[in-house]
Amino acid sequence: MNWDWSYAIAILPDLLRGLGVTIVVTLIATTIGLIGGLVAGVVSAMRIRVLSAIANGYIVVFRNTPFLVQLYLIYFALPEFGIVLSAEVSGVLGLGVFIGAYMAEVFRAGIDSVPIGQWESCTAINLSKRHTWVRVILPQAIPPVIPMLGNYANLAFKLSAYVAVIGTVELLGTALRLGEQSYRYLEPFTLVGVLYLVVSVAATALIRKLEKRISRNRQQLVKA
């Protein structure tokens, strides 16, 4: 089977529309992941007996089971309890919850890397718990882990292809449909691979740049 340029060009608009859906899915899921991850990371670091155990359980379970299984659980098992979500919502929610478990671990590492003296100083000047977290700990814990969070956003982008399995028509889903219609798989799948590669490599380069800038800013901060 030979590469057919006219077919490849004909399907490109469809695939780019699919890429748009993929990016929207990634952005919403990453937002869910960031919020869920921050909450779980902070709760896990607070060492409140029951709540921290729940947060740690969430991190361990969602990091160590396949994303596909989690997706099936949300899409197929929730309706048994009367919670019927569309394929799109299930996919975005599942991806957000999955990536949140990774991000929680990253936030947790950032919080753990704040020197203990900072905590002691807060206690010494009688700062409230809320102020300790919001004004002292988190501003120091989050900037160093931003590149790592970026890496996981990139992972969310690549994993978003899984939501095609439950019937969301994003980039991979578009290719699957095109393949079914025309029985040509070479062009759609190859183009999908190239599109993922281009976006992902560009994102990685961007994150590396960000990383350099953050470490430079921090060095200046330390000098000042």
Partner: protein, 236 residues
């Protein structure tokens, strides 16, 4: 209505076996190719370094699910007929090898420069330097992130259900369409994956203790050792 567990056990056990077979083949390919590519990324020749870099960027940039669909639908069209299991091994193995290559590269580079210079001073060949000086010292550093990727590889094996290999996920999905009970089924296989991941972690932490070389061996209690949570890369 409670689930007919009796009817679930045999298919799920069968599926778990397939999952393990896919995992073992993939991890062997990933480890061997990963070590080679990781070593090549430190080559003296910029051309070889460039090719190895391209390899790593390619396999880290493409999602394994896209790659497996591509291999499954497109390779036969290009005249390459592979059985499904070989396709699965190659796709997951090569995908993970890119991450393992980065671990190997990072591990070897973290060995102090003085060790390399000393090895040159006593006239070691490059191979002997890698075999007797840098690699043994890099091993304990590489193991914790490697353990992460063992678990990642295990999780990735779930994609093979999409190309028709009857692994754990495939069996659960099949039972779901026939019998229902999706909650029980997917939670059970989730627990099986968790258990397998836990066993892998146990195995690698045993290896970590075994491979400590030099003055560090048994000198530090485990809780003082470097944590590796954020060091390991990101999988896809």
């Amino acid at each position: 209505m409670s689930a007919p567990w009796g009817e679930f056990v045999a298919p799920l056990a069968n599926g778990a076996l397939t999952t393990l077979i896919v995992f073992l083949g993939s991890i062997v390919i990933a480890t061997v190719v990963g070590i080679i590519v990781g070593a090549l990324r430190l080559s003296r020749f910029s051309f070889i370094r460039g090719v190895a870099w391209g390899y790593v960027e390619f396999f880290r940039g493409v999602s394994v699910i896209v790659l497996i669909f591509w291999a499954f639908y497109v390779l036969p069209l290009l005249g390459l007929q592979l059985t499904t299991i070989v396709t699965a091994w190659l796709v997951i193995g090569l995908n993970q090898s890119a991450f393992i290559a980065e671990i190997v590269r990072g591990g070897i580079r973290s060995v102090p420069q003085g060790q390399v210079e000393a090895s040159i001073a006593i006239n070691h060949s490059p191979w002997a330097r890698l075999r007797y000086v840098t690699f043994p010292q890099a091993l304990p550093i590489m193991l914790p992130p490697y353990a992460n990727h063992l678990v990642n590889t295990l999780k990735e094996t779930a994609v093979v259900s999409l190309i028709g290999l009857a692994d754990l996920t495939f069996r659960a999905n099949e039972l779901r369409t026939r019998e229902g009970h999706s909650l029980e089924l997917f939670i059970s296989i989730g627990l099986i994956y968790l258990l397998l991941a836990y066993l892998l972690t146990l195995g690698t932490s045993w290896l970590e203790r075994k491979t400590q070389v030099g003055p560090l061996r048994k000198a530090l209690p485990i809780r003082f050792r470097r944590k590796s949570t954020v060091v390991g890369g990101v999988d896809a």
